[in-house]
Symmetry: C2
């Protein structure tokens, strides 16, 4: 079964290199694709946070793996690709919750998106409080180490 | 630009009808697609929660809208499609945070997934505490009304 998607928007920011850390202060403009009418963003500014689903278009098909150590770090255990958030994954989909800074016509400005300049966006959803069901999250130890400088 | 995806897994549960509410107690098995090796799930049981990105395959192309009232309810304001979570959206992508109940080989069992039986899954990501950046969420008033029976 093949599913064909078309990006609904594209990112614009100062991050042109694929690097791991320091995404917290990055400000990104997201502009609608030509085939999406402006009304798709109507009243989006009533939400404080959005979920951005995007496509890691710089990942080659031969880079996709099914398991491995997060960031290739020998200190971390081997994990299945669906048990980590590495970009080199089947379908190359990225997901990040961001703060909505402003909305102006066909462009929204967000803070804390971990996607580089020119990344195709597949979907944008408002964060509903009621969807934040993950209250007491448990995770393996390596995650906090890996994330140490991710937002800083 | 066209992006071609192939489902990594499929859902199995008792919900065969597309209905709006009462997803909280639904238990779903998610089984890997044939082309994804079993190792993709390795050690996934170390996480308590997962993000499931799926495809609303029952939504026809002609059902997709760009704005409208959530659930068609006249009491709710008109919102852009990217300012609501309605399924009839460009690219037909769904997203839900679920509780991971168990993992056995090529199948995981999760609780609280709002997808019906047989839904194609595009990606599965572990919830990292550090990715839960949406602390003080604000949202329009209609959201809490719409979500009243969503999980119950």
């Amino acid at each position: 079964m093949e599913i064909v998607l078309e990006p609904v928007a594209t990112t614009h920011n100062v991050r042109t290199e694929v690097t791991d850390d320091s995404w917290g202060e990055v400000v990104t403009n997201i502009t609608l694709a030509d085939h999406i009418p402006t009304e798709a963003f109507d009243s989006i500014e009533l939400f404080s946070h959005l979920e951005i689903i995007f496509y890691f278009d710089k990942v080659g098909d031969d880079a996709v793996i099914f398991s491995g150590r997060p960031r290739g770090n020998p200190d971390y255990p081997v994990m299945g690709i669906l048990a980590q958030r590495k970009k080199d994954r089947p379908n190359k989909i990225g997901l990040c919750t961001v703060e909505l800074v402003s909305h102006e016509g066909r462009t929204i400005t967000v803070k804390g998106l971990d996607a580089i300049d020119g990344t195709p966006v597949l979907d944008i959803k408002p964060v509903f409080k009621e969807f934040q069901t993950a209250k007491e999250v448990t995770q393996p130890e390596w995650v906090s180490d890996l994330m140490k400088y991710y937002w800083r």
